[in-house]
Amino acid sequence: MTMSTPEIGAGNAIPAKQPFEYRRVYVWELPVRVYHWINALALVTLCVTGYLIGAPIRAFYAAEAYQQYWFGWVRFIHFAAAYVYVFNFLARLYWGFTGNKYARWSAFLPLKKSRRQEIVDVVKADVLQTQMHGPISTGHNALAGLIYFFTFLAFVAQTITGFALYSSMSSSWLPRLFTWVVPLLGGDFGVRFWHHLFLWFFVTFVIVHIYLAFYHDYIEGRGTVSSIIGGWKFEREKSDQ
């Protein structure tokens, strides 16, 4: 599949003289895309309901408790979304060992020198808005991969503290696996504090993540945003080939 570079900026004085070869690369397989959107939905639900649990809005009407179950529903949605989120994440971990090279666990760690160099390059491109030295990775760029790795750690932290908080109101085995966390963090109050603090990590992450996806879509010009819907990205063929 070949495509020509689109005419960026219609009416531009410089015409594209020759077409460039672009290769279509199937980067994000279906499980990765499904994971991404389920995760996005669950995460937003968890953040909104989680914030409400910490700072509840009082019931809009009702004089007696039996007339409403408003806060109960908020909490129920939070717990239900948490289960979806955790099992979705576990499925993604599995895919990290069976998926394509863009989805593999190694894509999230800067194990090679070239990947570490790319981190510096991407930071410069993002913050100082300089031009990249070489072509940027087709899958996650090295910086994005590393940030996602930290996000996974935050997922784990949030899962552990969340289930630890939940364990005292549950007799099922999964939350009960996390009772040991409570004394470690100085009781339920401490666990709640950390669980609450991580909420803001996710809020910040979502803001930066969405912005950078748009930004890279613009500077790279090869369908970064649409790739998480369709799975395809575009890679320019080397000009000397």
Binding site: N12, I14, A16, F20, R58, G72, G186, L199, W200, I219
Partner: protein
């Protein structure tokens, strides 16, 4: 040596009927079912009255005050008839050398059989000089007494988790008992613990002769297995979303949930909302005040008491994780917006650069 509880009761002229009533009450206090009363009767007929040493260190004696105020008639009997309370600074008759002798005799004559109840934390900084009795440090007294003890109970939050002595910056190095001994310590936290809970734990120890089932923090599960929140009579208001939002609002008058006022009920394990206080009269939440989480480790450092979240260190008294989070979130949004503006300003240049690059190739 000592008599059994039944022998002692007979000497005092207690009838068999009254003795059986005492046994039934003790079984109830220990959280046993009706079918276990026979076990209690058997124990009280055969077991010697256990010798008890009650130590006081860094504390305010509120645990003792709570214990002697247990309203159940059986409590006084537990204290005076069932136990042989040989040493306790606040309640015993002897003083000075006589008191010291009483302690030594108890330890020497009941090796491996006496029960130690500890009230208060033990200071460990500066050689333990911050709490000394009869010229000896609290730590050394504790070591000596615990050596041959059959069981150790830590009364109250001071002995269980340090309470106010152990609050930051903890100048005296106040240390809970379980950190100073290898023996299993039954932690009965609370400031003070509920009298009925204290008696219940002692009775369990006496009747069954074994340590009650403890949770991961050494607290008896029968009394600390559930959160104050779980059995709170205001819980339906929580689920409905009916909250008190200031101490003088309509919700406060109607008895809505105190969650938003900083109630620690959802993070506090105790029996307050079940046994209540002062003979089942009331408990803090029922009296319109939020739970401050007194049995929980570090509750003094989790303040202010009237805030749902603890203050975030380094950001002022009133700022919580939410304040910090909101500031970070807004700062991020501002940064992203600024970045978008800069990108847009540079737009023509970026597009031109791309085209020049295309031309070169």
């Amino acid at each position: 040596m000592g008599h059994t509880i039944w022998e002692e009761a007979q000497q005092k002229g207690v009838s068999r009927r009254d003795f059986l009533q005492l046994c039934a009450a003790a079984a109830a206090m220990a959280g046993l079912s009706q079918s276990s009363v026979a076990q209690v009767v058997s124990a009280f007929e055969k077991k010697e009255k256990p010798a008890v040493v009650w130590l006081h260190f860094q504390e305010c004696t509120c645990c003792s005050e709570s214990f002697i105020r247990s309203t159940h008639p059986i409590m006084a009997e537990v204290l005076l008839d069932v136990l042989s309370l040989n040493y306790t600074e606040t309640l015993m008759a002897p003083a000075g050398f006589q008191a010291e002798k009483s302690l030594n005799d108890t330890i020497q004559n009941n090796k491996g059989k006496y029960i130690v109840l500890v009230e208060g934390a033990v200071p460990t900084h500066d050689g333990g000089v911050y709490c000394m009795i009869g010229g000896k440090t609290a730590e050394s007294i504790l070591k000596t007494v615990l050596q041959d003890a059959a069981a150790v109970i830590a009364w109250g939050s001071c002995a269980s988790n340090g309470c106010i002595q152990g609050a930051k910056p903890n100048p005296t190095g106040a240390t809970p008992i379980y950190k100073l001994t290898d023996k299993t310590v039954i932690n009965v936290p609370g400031c003070p613990p509920i009298a009925e809970v204290m008696v219940g734990v002692v009775t369990h120890l006496l009747v069954l002769g074994q340590i009650p089932a403890l949770d991961s923090q050494g607290r008896p599960k029968e009394f600390y297995g559930r959160r104050v929140h779980d059995t709170c009579y205001r819980r339906p208001n929580y689920d409905a979303g009916l909250f008190v939002e200031s101490w003088d609002d309509e919700g406060a008058r109607k008895g809505y949930c105190l969650y938003k006022m900083g109630c620690r009920g959802p993070v506090t394990y105790n029996a307050c909302s079940v046994t209540k206080w002062n003979g089942g009269l009331s408990y803090p939440i029922q009296s319109g005040h939020n739970c401050i989480g007194c049995p929980e480790a570090g509750y003094w450092d989790n303040g202010p008491f009237y805030q749902h979240l603890a203050s975030f260190p380094g950001f002022g008294i009133e700022s919580t994780a939410d304040t910090v989070g909101a500031v970070v979130g807004v700062a991020t949004l501002a940064g992203v917006a600024a970045h978008a503006v800069v990108t847009n300003v540079r737009k023509r240049k970026v597009i031109a650069e791309v085209h020049v690059e295309d031309q070169k190739e």
